[in-house]
Each structure stands twice: as C-alpha cells, then as structure tokens.
Amino acid sequence: MTISEEIQRATCASPSGDHRFEKLRGVRWRINLGILPSSPSSTIDELRRVTADSRRRYAALRRRLLIDPHLPKKGINSPDLTIDNPLSQNPESTWGRFFRNAELEKTLDQDLSRLYPEHGSYFQSSGCQGMLRRILLLWCLKHPEIGYRQGMHELLAPLLYVLQVDVQYLTEVRSNYEDQFTDLFDELAFQERDSAAYDFDIKKVLDDSMEEEEEDENGTHATKKKKKPKRFDELDTETQTAVLLSDAYGAEGELGIVLSDKFLEHDAYSMFDALMYGGSSLGSVSVANFFVYSAPSDSVTGLPPVIEASSALYYLLSLVDASLHSHLVELGVEPQYFALRWLRVLFGREFPLSNLLTVWDEIFSADNTEVVERGVSAVEDGFEFRILSSPRGALVAGMAVSMILYLRSSLLATENATSSLKRLLNFPEDVDLCKVIEKAKSLQSLALEINARRDLLPKGSRKPMRGHSLSVDSISLGGSASPVGSVPESYWEEKWRVLNSKEEEEEEARRRKASRRQNTVKKSWSERVKLRLSRTESDASDRSGNKPPIRRSLLDDLSKQLGDKDSVSPTNTDTDIERSSTVSGSPSGDCEDNGSDKGKSEDHVELPLPVRENESEGKSVVNIFRDRNILSGKFQRFWRLGRNLSGEETSETKEAKPIEPEAKPIEPVAKPVEPEAKPMDHEEEEERTNSDSTEGHGNALKNTGRSMLEHIKVIESVLEQSSPENMADNHRLTVEEALRELRRLGTMLLSEM
C-alpha cells in the first residue's frame, strides 16, 4: 500500500473530535495514547514541548542502558580489571551486562526477523530492525518484571510504521510547498520567495488515483498547475499544521519538531510505553497486563488478566448470542485459546496492516479511563471483568465479540474444537471492516451498560448472589441477560438447565401416562405450549431485532389455535394426550404446577425431584428466565433444522411454505417435550399422517396423539437405559429425529385447522 493511499485512509477514519491532525495518524495516536496533550485548545507549541521532553527522557534512558564496554566509564581512569574483563563472573561488570543484553537481543532477533514479511521492504530493512530492536531492548530492560514476550514486537511495529508515514507525508508537503519551509533564521529568509508556483491542491498531487476530491479553501477544484504564490495563511489548515509542527525554529528547536525523521525511535518508544502501561486507573487497558502470567494481587477472580479478559469476551457473547456461545462451550473451546493472541497483539495478527491501522484508530480514540459512577469504581467493588470498565477496554471486547459473530455461520457448522479454533484463528482477509467496527461499537455500549448496572455483572466470591431487580434489568437491556454466576459456572449451569428441562419433561410425560386423567388441573401439553408462548411473546417484545414482528403475530395465532383445539378435543377416553381446556394464566404457574405435581406423581425418578425442589424453593422468577434462555438458545439453532426439514416434507404437507413460519414457533414448544422416535415409528407415523389428510378431524387428532405418545414411550425407554449425561451418539440422533417428528406433527395439526 503506497504511502499516499495510507494518508488517504488516515483521513477517512478520524473518529475523534479533534480535527486538527486528520492526516497525521501518528500525531493523533500520540494524543489518544496520552503522550501529547489532548485538549483541543493546546497549541502547537505545547505539543512541541511535550514531544521534546519525552524525547529527552528516551535519550537519557538509552545512554544509561545501552552498553558499549569499550567506552571507559566516566570518572574511572583505570577500571578495575579484575571486575571489568570480558570473562568476569561478576554480574555488576559492564561486560556482564553487555552479555545479558546480547542474549536479550538474540531473542528479539528471532522474532524481528519474522516480522511482517509481506511488508518486508520497510520492516525488514536494517534501519527499521535496528530501531525496533533498540526500543524493545530498552523497554524490557526498564521493565524487568515482564521482560520480553513474543508479540510485543507486533505491537510496536505498526506504531513505528505510522510515524514513518507521517514523516513521509511531511516530505511530500515539503516538496510541494517549499516556499513555506524556508529557513527563517532571525526572521530573514535565506532566499527570496519567488513567484514560481507550486501546485495548490496538495491532495491532488499526493494521490493521483483518488476518487474523492477534496476542495480547497476557495471551494473550487484545483486544475493543473496554477501559477500562484501562496502565503502561509492561505494554505489549508492541515498544511499549516504540518508546517508548524516541523518548523525547526519553533519551540524547543529541532527537538520539538513533532514530525521528525531523526526522532522516530524516541517517539515510537513513548507510544509503545503508553500503550503497554496506558491506564492510570485500575480499569483501563494496559496491554502489558496481558503478558503477565500470574494474577495481580488485587484481582477478584484470582486469574491472570488475560484469562479474565477472555472470559469477559465470552460473557459478552453469551449475552448477545447465546446459541453461538453455548455451541462454542459445548465444543470445549475455551476463550483464551484464541483470545490470547487477539488481546496480546490487539488484533495485530488478524487483520492486514492497513485494516489494522483503522481498527487501532477506533480503539485508541476510545477513552481509556475507567468509567466511574457515583464515585464508586467497579473494579474496587470487586467485579470480575476489569476489561469492561473502561470505554477502550469495552471496545476491545466488543471488537473481539463482533469478530466472533462475523464468523458465526462457519463456527456453528463446526463439529469439534479444532476446526472452530482454526476458523477463529484464521480470520478472513477481505472483511467488511466498517460493519465489524459498527458492531463493535454497539457492543461496546452494551458492555458499558452492563458495567453500569453492577448487579448484573458476575461478582467475585466476596459478594453473594445477585439482585432482585433482575427481570427489570434484563428487559431493559433488551437481551437475555442471564442471571448466571461467574462465567465458568454459567457453562455448567446452562448444561444443567438443559438437562433439567429434559428431566422435567420426562417426569411430566410419565406422570401423565401414569395418571391417565383427562381433565385434571395439571399441566397439559397445550397448556405448556400456551405458557411458553406467552413467555416467548413477552420475550419477543423485549428483544431488539431478534424476532421480527411477524413471528409475534404467528405466536398469537398459534396460541389461539391451541385454545380452540382444546375446546374441540374429542372426548375419547383413550386419548392419551390431555387436551384439557383449563388454562392457568399466571406465568408462575409452571412452578406451582410443579409443586403440585410432586405430590401426585407416583413413579417418578429420584433425580429430578431434588432438582425440582431447589427450583421451586428458589426463585421462581429466575426459573422463567432460565426457560426463556433455553428457548432463545435452542430456537435459533433449530430454526435452521426446521427449515431444512420442512423443505423435505413438501410431499406431505401441501401448504409447506406458508406453514413454515408457523412451524417455527412450535419448535421451542416441541423441544421441551422431547419425545423420541425410532425409524419404524417414523414410518408408521408417515402412513398415519397420510391417512390423516383423508380421515376425519377427530380421527386425525387421535392418531397424531397416539403417535406422539409413542414417541414419549420411546424416550422413556432410552432414558431408562442411559442417564442423560452420557447419552450415546445414536441416542442423540434419535432425539433430534424425534424432535423433527414432533415438529411435523405440529405442522400437521395446524394444517388440519
């Protein structure tokens, strides 16, 4: 990518409010990282002074730490040779330090030689490599507690590159506006400003191929080579800035030239230092923390910061896209497998250099101080995710999650952890970066909101369980803010939830079968459906964009129909499916019924019982939201399955297409019941359903009811054989098949209406 294109991109992405340095990415970044004063009112002179100071510091550091053993130490005329000889074992000797530095340099060289081979013309040049080596060496010597870790060179390289781009921009400006750069020694120009002209529109010169033409100050497009001398004030502001920043006679003289070729190393060092140890407050992003192996002493979780941040990513993902999250968790993909690389190099390995600069533009423009609310710091209070408590950290997390979401379809298709990791670690090259960044920004605001509502964050072990205002918060957030504990817990909790729901259904079916009552005030299948529908309805209204409005109306339809069905249900005594028309309207009916059921049932399995007790004793409200979560999670997953299958069944259901959207709402309903179908049942049912279309209404119902009961019987038998935890693969397949069957049955029922 040529420098001119690079400058163009620098212009396009200027998120911050300070528009003074639109073309100068290096200066912008230095402001954002806190090296240069960031208030818009700071003058060029102030910038120059601060720059000069930072450069002096670096020069002093270099003098101190870079050792040339040949140079005699100051003030010692005859150095004590027993200490200062090359073979000396004394660690204090200059030679000892020299050798230690040499070892460090060897490690650095291993990494540097492999840095950005695709841009090797710049990065592999000896000057650049020398600069990188020195900067990293000095930084590591200054921070011996961390030393050098692989990846730091990747953080440093784009910083140096950006500074180089600025300098090259400056040379272009210089070549075009030479009369502005005259040596104004003692206010006398060394040469007369001649009237020989320079092309006014610098942008046109810089990038011949650019499409968008920027207007000059007069509002006209520049044409070829206007011969017109320009005074300083008539230049556009950017060029003015460039001139002022590079004036050799401004404040601090040469040391203050903000865009200077000579001081690239110094500036890059200060940028690198600011990036690594950026934040003043606990919550801000300091990339150096990601390289630390042990947990900091004041950490709540006791995890190293990078692990903590990775789990923050997963938490955020679970809020936004629970199905993808649960899928990854099921495969056993721990977040730090990929997040380690993402976070340590700030996505340096995932994007090509040009995209990376845009991403870093966004990240750096986000404020790095911790969001403190009402004088209480989230981190001090003992909340788990430090990374989420600053806007920059939240944006980094949001960026990561949006990248995961970008790969959603391919991730959901993977079967094992290795292939998912492969997808995640080989991020595609041609990415629509704007979209990803947009998404990241929205996720950032979500993350910050979560942080603001402290009672939703997973807390450390110090504080007990979460709040009462859970339902309110979850609705207001518009997401399925699951009331989970710390993230590792939540994985298992979800699994437990899934199992639990299966157990629930299991027990229900059995109880139903055992009692054989028709019009009992008990949970019936349709009743359940209605309840769940009512819940999903309210859920749907809350979610932003997760369910289109049409589905809501379909859910309404379905519930209505089920209500009708209930009233028309045949009075056959041997229908095994209860079609009782009694409906308990309250959402907490679920738990109440559970409680009541307990007393009535006879042969129920021991395992669900203690579980149930916990549930009913505990928070019933929590239950509902858990169920809701199951639905939301499974919903998306099985929607696709349903799609596929309903495509297959066109022969049977003539109105497959219009019924399809109705089939979908049935799925979450179908899932909890979860009967099982063996192949022969499938066939049996097929012929039955075929006959359904010809037989009468009641018979059809009877038959479908019968087949459903058979499914239930089958599931019972399988579950008796093996516990749900270690269900074999073939069992799982049959479960899924049964699911499909039930869906079809539901479709059939609706088609009968």
């Binding site: 040949h70 040779l81 027993t82 000889n85 090359p86 073979l87 000396s88 074992q89 050798f99």
Partner: protein, 190 residues
C-alpha cells in the same frame, strides 16, 4: 566485538592434571567466538573440552601432541586482522623475537601467536604483534623455572585489538590489558 581465546602448552596429563579451577570457572561457553591453541594439549580429552567452550577451534601441532594430524602452522582472518599460529619449538632460538618476526613476515600476519616457552610475552614489532600466551596449566618447562598459569583473551573490534592477560599468581587471578591499534603501516600504543 569478537572475543578470541589464545592458550596452549597444557601438557595434560603428563605434566599437569587439568586447568586451574579458577580458570575453568571463567571459561563458560557462549561468550567466546574463537579459540586458538598453540599446541601441546596433549590428549583428545582436552581437545573436546575446548570444543565445548567454543566450536570454532584452531590448533597447531606441538612436539608432545598425540594427535599427529594438526598442522605445523595456521593462519586465519578475524575481522580486520590476520592471525598466525605456530607452536614455536620450530623457531630457534626458542622465544627469540627476531626469529619470530621472521616467521611473522613469512606468514604475513598482523598477530602471531606462539608458545613453547611457558612464559607470557607480548611484543609490538614492526607493525605487528607477537603474543605468547604462556601455559594455561602452569606445566613444568625445561627452559623456564618460574611458570604461572596464564592465557590470553583478545577482543578484536574493527581496527583495534584489546589483549586481556589472565594470570594465576599466588592463587589469585590477575588481569592486565594491552591495547593495539592497527594502521596501514605502523601501529600506535596507548
């Protein structure tokens, strides 16, 4: 910034058992780039030991060496300097500067390293340097009654060579340093 170790006349196992422990503790692998040895090791075990300190080992034949394949003289170039290596028993009178200078001219080297006398010497002579690292084990010598273990480390840096001399005197390691600069015709000492 090349470190070159020069030593020789160890006479192990006939006249000495091993290098002094203090010397051994100083000679750690990784720091030294080349070793030049004047000969009389005499056995293969010492050869292997020197190889562990530095893989780049140059050896010439001394009269008591058991490996007959070593050459009589050797020349090599390190940095800007040409080094010549010979045991020294071939040049008579033993240790005579003028005769050694003849050998230096013959080999056309800047630095000539010889041994056999078991005595450290370093001469500047006619635009070149003649160095004798002495005996690293302090082995008995028939021509020299008072033998201290000694060896030489040369730090070659561009046109300048710094010679560090390590001697074991009364159980203590003493270090001395000599600077040589190479110019086209003559050399100057500090």
């Amino acid at each position: 910034m090349v470190l070159v170790l020069a030593l020789g006349d160890l006479h192990v196992p006939h006249r000495a058992a091993d290098l002094p422990p203090k010397f051994k503790s100083m000679l750690v692998p990784g720091k030294i780039q080349h070793i030049i040895c004047t000969g009389n090791l005499c056995i293969k075990e010492i050869h292997d030991y020197l190889k562990t300190i530095c893989p780049d080992l140059h050896i010439v034949r001394g009269e008591f060496d058991e490996d007959a394949r070593y050459p009589e003289t050797k020349t090599l170039t390190i940095g800007q300097f040409k080094l010549g290596l010979c045991h020294g028993h071939q040049v008579i009178p033993w240790g005579d500067l003028d005769s050694l200078a003849m050998l230096q001219r013959q080999l056309d080297v800047d630095i000539l390293v010889t041994g056999h006398t078991h005595q450290f010497t370093a001469y500047k002579h006619e635009g070149g340097v003649v160095i004798n690292p002495g005996s690293a084990t302090g082995a008995y010598s028939s021509i020299n009654q008072d033998v201290n273990p000694s060896f030489v480390l040369m730090d070659i840096d561009g046109l300048r060579v710094v010679v560090y001399v390590y001697e074991l005197i009364d159980g203590e390691v003493k270090v001395d340093k000599i600077d040589f600069k190479k110019t086209s015709t003559s050399n100057s000492a500090p």
